[in-house]
């Protein structure tokens, strides 16, 4: 059975790139651009990994991260945070709120792929 990745990212080109990379390796990729709907969907779909952008319209990635960690179902869910701001402050915030892994844009495609694999494997 194919594993599911839920991708929350508002930039359409980046969304398309990540979907392309993961799909080719046999992942089931569901994408969302809006934080609130993504949060609802995560509880329904029960993905194996969540890839979460920080700068999102309406609700920031950190808020969604905190909410996800607040529910028993998603408490231990592997979450990969992506950010384009790349300041140390962002990395600290992500760690504090319970991100499993943190990556700064721009990333290399293999890096993303390997991270997702590792997160699911562990």
């Amino acid at each position: 059975m194919a594993k599911t990745v839920l991708l929350i990212e508002d930039e359409p080109n980046i969304r398309e790139a990540i979907r392309f990379i993961l799909s080719r390796e046999g992942w089931n990729v569901e994408t969302h651009s809006d934080g609130q709907t993504a949060f609802e969907r995560t509880k329904e779909v029960r993905p194996d990994v969540v890839i979460l952008d920080v700068m999102l319209p309406n609700r920031s990635g950190y808020e969604i991260l905190q909410d996800l960690r607040g529910f028993t179902e998603t408490e231990t869910l592997p979450i990969l945070m992506l950010t384009a701001r790349g300041q140390t402050k962002d990395r600290e915030l992500a760690e504090r709120f319970g991100a499993s892994r943190f990556m700064t844009k721009p990333f290399s495609n293999t890096e993303v792929l390997e991270s997702v694999r590792e997160l699911v494997g562990s």
Partner: protein, 891 residues
């Protein structure tokens, strides 16, 4: 037979003995052993200076001439003392609480520290007392003469004038020595008072001895004497009620008003309770003094040759009977009466003269004023001593130039009348709060003038000042102005006439003027303190420092100076005084030093008031309080200045805080800006990297897929370029480094060009643009390219964000007086009020329209351009859509 020289020797020995007594008493007082010095008996005896030589010798003469009338002179004071609760007690209490130094001081301080009143009372006292002092000198001189005659030396052999002179010198010496030894704050002279009390005993014993001799030695006991009295012409005296009442009133008034009586009764009083004892003891003393007056007079009239001076019977009877020792005792009694009166009068008058006349002049002349206390003390002492010499010198001069004749005998009552002019002001001062200084001053002046005119000048000036014609017919023949029959009142005894008119007019003027004028605040406060003295002063305890006082002082000082400094100060002083422990005796020196120490912390006036309150039992005077208020005002002024400073500092601190907050905000903004730029740069780069890696690594892609990925890379590269262009543009605009190309431009052309640049052919069909071409025909001096950049931005926004099904953009130009307004209004939902404030900020992209391709810098750039063009761009709220107004100046 006692020789004249022997008499001189006896007198000198007596005087030396008095010196010794005074010296001993002063020593005792200095050591703080006040015990018996403050006894009520000493106080009562000191009051006996009322009985001067005039009463000692004169009473017998008075009785020989006018019978029992002499008793009136004793009755007045007796009534006053029996009724001591009413007036004397109040005077004593006021004297203590207000630190009154003389009767002039009392009047002046009651009426708002009016020095004019002080001067008036002083002058009146000096004028009234000088003849009286002369009278004392005369009586002593005459008594010497009597002895000289008896011993056959002959009157011519002794110079009456030089005798009087040397007596005056001796009295000056004594008074200066014991009256001005030191400047006691309370003006008490223990030595002098003790010597006077001794003299009081001497004169009483002397008079009683002569009386006993007369009754049992000359006559055969009381029954014989009574028979002789019945037989003598004195028995046929006629009692004139008016004259008696007048004389009793006069002696009572004088008893209260005489400066020397005030000195012993009020100023020298150490304990209020002594007055209660004196209230019965002093009348008893007077009764004993008058007991044998009539017998002596009767026997004298019988024994002595016709024409013998009855004033000297007290001396001449024992001498004629060969009782030398008794005569000597009698002489010493008379000598005591005279000297004690002169000494006290000199002290009282010199205090008044120096305090109210000399010191004000000295202080006015030395404009620097009294800053060094020791310096002033010296000046005050010198002024006192000179005043004593002057007062006695004046008395001697009066004696010398009046010729020492019998005119002096009448002086007693005349002097009483003059001095009594103070009475209305004195009683008003302590009983009538409404009394004012104007009333007191005018009353005094009127009383004084009337006294001079009706009594003093006619009796004393002789024919030179008031001619017999004037006495008979009045000045300029005005009958009702006759000095001894004022307003046509005839038939009165001159003394009674003067008493009635002077006191009546004095009181009338005093009351009327008081009611017509208003007391100033100080007067009103002093009046309250004087009239209600029993409510304002705590108790009757005398001023005597004790350990409890010292402890209170320590408690107070600790609060002000701090415990360590206060204890060190007290210990040092205690050691200096030779006392173990912390508490020194509250000596004057100690109190002064303490006041100085405290003054450094709380101000001189406050320090004085505090120390006085604790030690004196003396209530704080109004002047003290006012000085305290002054100091408080200064402190308040100082503290309000401090407050201003504090306010200023607070303001500065607040401003600094505001600046700091702003800087912090700016720093946060800078961080946010950098974060934004980073985000805006990294986002396109992420897409570019991801797709380029895909193109590189993935082999099995269709050509369409490859083209699609390459076109994404291309778009994102363009987006990056645009972003960098905008950032650079914004930087140039913000720094004001932009090179503007200002020239006459047609607004229509600019709008036309902008629309063409912003909208492609397809887009211009979807977004309909409404214009008013006619209004657009305006020539403006501006940078057309930059203005077009603004317009393009606004048109693009409308194109991108207008969410109406049939989007429409209205461009409206409106020409104002100084400017032109170009409004861009679309028919979308517009921008929410909260966001309206943000849209002109950098990176304030409100929606998630990445297709719009902007980084949220457009409007920020527009605002910078308009600022550079001296115009403005604003969001227009309430237009049913997004609306912007661009404003350009016309000149």
């Amino acid at each position: 037979m006692i020789g004249f020289n022997a008499l001189i020797i006896v007198s000198v020995i007596y005087v030396i003995f008095l010196f010794a007594i005074a010296f001993f008493a002063d020593q005792q007082a200095a050591r703080g052993r006040l015990g018996w010095l403050q006894s009520p008996i000493v106080y009562t005896l000191s009051l006996s200076i009322y009985c001067t030589a005039w009463t000692f010798y004169g009473a017998v003469g008075y009785a020989a001439r006018s019978g029992l009338e002499f008793v009136t002179i004793y009755l007045g004071p007796t009534l006053i003392m029996i009724g001591w609760w009413g007036i004397v007690r109040k005077l004593v209490r006021i004297g203590r609480t207000q630190r009154i130094t003389s009767i002039a001081d009392l009047i002046s301080s009651r009426f708002g520290k009016s020095n004019l009143l002080g001067v008036l009372v002083t002058l009146l006292a000096v004028i009234g007392s000088t003849p009286y002092i002369a009278l004392q000198l005369q009586s002593v001189t005459l008594s010497y003469a009597v002895f000289a005659n008896e011993s056959g030396t002959g009157t011519e052999a002794i110079d009456l004038n030089s005798t009087a002179f040397w007596i005056a010198v001796g009295l000056i010496l004594f008074t200066v020595l014991f009256g001005t030894r030191n400047l006691d704050a309370n003006e008490r002279h223990h030595g002098v008072v003790t010597a006077i009390a001794f003299e009081a005993v001497v004169k009483l014993v002397a008079l009683l001895a002569v009386g006993v001799f007369v009754v049992w030695g000359v006559a055969n006991g009381p029954s014989d004497i009574l028979a002789r009295i019945d037989a003598s012409p004195i028995a046929e005296w006629d009692l004139r009620p008016g004259r008696w009442a007048g004389l009793i009133f006069l002696s009572a008034a004088a008893f209260l008003s005489l400066p020397r009586m005030f000195q012993v009764m009020v100023v020298e009083n150490a304990d209020e309770r002594a007055v209660a004892t004196a209230s019965w003891a002093f009348p008893l003393y007077l009764m004993l003094m008058s007991l044998f007056v009539v017998p002596i007079a009767v026997v004298g009239l019988e024994l002595m040759p016709k024409g013998a001076n009855p004033d000297l019977f007290v001396l001449t009877i024992p001498l004629s009977m060969g009782q030398d020792k008794l005569a000597l005792l009698s002489f010493l009694g008379g000598f005591s009466s005279a000297t004690s009166m002169v000494i006290v009068a000199a002290i009282a008058l010199s205090t008044m003269v120096s305090n109210h006349i000399v010191m004000p002049i000295w202080l006015a002349v030395t404009s620097k004023g009294a800053t060094v206390s020791g310096d002033v003390r010296q000046v005050v002492l010198i002024a006192r001593r000179c005043s004593i010499a002057a007062v006695l010198g004046l008395g001697y001069a009066y004696f010398h130039y009046s010729g020492g004749g019998s005119a002096l005998a009448a002086i007693g009552l005349i002097s009483f009348t003059g001095v009594s002019q103070v009475l209305p002001a004195l009683l008003g001062a302590i009983f009538w709060r409404r009394a004012t200084r104007h009333g007191a001053a005018l009353g005094l002046i009127v009383g004084f003038v009337v006294w001079c005119y009706t009594l003093f000048l006619p009796s004393i000036g002789g024919a030179t000042l008031i001619s017999p014609e004037m006495l008979e017919h009045g000045p300029f023949g005005i009958g009702w102005l006759r000095p001894q029959a004022l307003f046509g009142v005839v038939g009165l005894d001159p003394v009674i006439h003067a008493v009635v008119w002077s006191m009546l007019l004095n009181s009338l003027v005093f009351c009327t003027v008081s009611l017509m004028t208003f007391p100033n605040p100080l007067e009103r406060l002093q009046g309250m303190q004087f009239v209600n003295v029993f409510e304002h002063s705590a108790n009757a305890r005398g001023w005597s420092g004790n350990a409890a006082g010292a402890e209170d002082l320590l408690v107070m000082s600790q609060r002000i100076l701090g415990p360590n400094q206060a204890q060190r100060l007290f210990q040092t002083i205690a050691q200096k005084q030779g006392k173990a422990g912390l508490l020194p005796d509250p000596s004057v020196d100690f109190l002064e030093q303490l006041e100085r120490e405290l003054a450094g912390s709380v101000g001189a006036a406050t320090a004085h008031a505090m120390v006085a309150q604790i030690t004196g039992g003396a209530s704080v005077s109004v002047e003290d309080l006012m000085a305290v208020a002054d100091e408080t005002a200064q402190i308040m002024e100082y503290s309000s200045k401090l407050e201003e400073k504090t306010d200023e500092l607070e303001r500065t601190a607040r401003q600094l805080g505001e600046v700091n907050t702003k800087l912090t905000e700016l720093s946060v903004q800078k961080d946010a800006f950098l974060g934004q730029i980073s985000h805006e740069l990294r986002t396109p780069m992420t897409s570019i990297r991801a797709f380029s890696e895909i193109l590189r690594d993935v082999q099995d892609m269709t050509p369409d897929e490859q083209r699609h990925h390459a076109s994404i890379i291309h778009d994102e590269a363009l987006r990056l370029t645009r972003l960098l262009d905008d950032l650079l543009d914004l930087n140039v605009l913000e720094n004001g480094q932009v090179a503007l190309n200002i020239e006459q431009t047609n607004l229509y052309d600019v709008i036309e060009r902008s629309l063409a640049a912003a909208l492609s052919a397809v887009e211009s069909e979807t977004l309909s643009v409404v214009r008013s071409i006619d209004q657009e025909q305006i020539m403006i001096a501006t940078d057309g390219d930059r203005l077009a950049q603004v317009f393009i931005n606004l048109i693009n926004n409308a194109r991108k964000y207008c969410d109406h099904a049939e989007p429409k953009l209205e461009v409206q130009v409106c020409l104002r007086e100084n400017c032109v307004e170009i409004d861009f209004r679309d028919n979308g939902t517009g921008i929410s009020q909260a966001d309206q404030n943000l849209i002109f900020e950098k990176f304030s992209r409100l929606t998630d329209h990445h297709s719009a391709g902007g980084a949220g810098l457009g409007l920020a750039i527009c605002r910078e351009i308009m600022t550079n063009l001296k115009g403005s761009i604003d969001y227009l709220p309430g237009q049913n859509g997004a609306a912007f107004r661009v404003k350009l100046p016309l000149k």
